[in-house]
Subunit: 114 residues, 2 copies
Amino acid sequence: MRFDDVRSFPLAHGVSGRPLFGAGAMLNVIEFEPGATVPLHSHPHEQLGLVLRGMQALVVDGVAHELHPMEGYVIPGGVEHSAYCGPEGALVLDVFQPVREDYRARWENPTAEA
Amino acid sequence: MRFDDVRSFPLAHGVSGRPLFGAGAMLNVIEFEPGATVPLHSHPHEQLGLVLRGMQALVVDGVAHELHPMEGYVIPGGVEHSAYCGPEGALVLDVFQPVREDYRARWENPTAEA
């Protein structure tokens, strides 16, 4: 499948995702518009990922970790984190296990409230 | 972490991987030298992925699926597959869940037989 052909869904203001769902894990190609941020949140799912373009900073315990292309990360389930990107925006591959069923529901029903 | 700083391990002749291990899933950035192939194999782990550079073809049930940058795939656990790349080689992100403990053992003990 081509991620460009996948309908995107909003993750935060200026941040959208294009998901690929497996049985026990999923990919989500997320695009940050310049200056966009993801507020502090957590989820029980383990999250891993890789920056594809631009800069994404992941903030954990008040420490910002700036990630550039071909830099990866692991966030254990339940760990609070927020994110921001650089002035040029960013393209990031996120991986979740297990599947984020909340994302699936939002992606399949785009008219529902995010 | 920077994938470029991760020690690579051999996956097949002309194919190497740079892993990032989570608790329940892992990333593996794999590099195909031009013309390299991965023989037919299977594993119980679910595999998802995304082509980052070049062309990777995944062959399932005798059908070759040619994947180009920003094209993704899911291979359910237990499904036999092989792979080949184009003349320019390829860079691919593979995701496995659960973690490939066989990969971890080979990566942690690079002198052992692949």
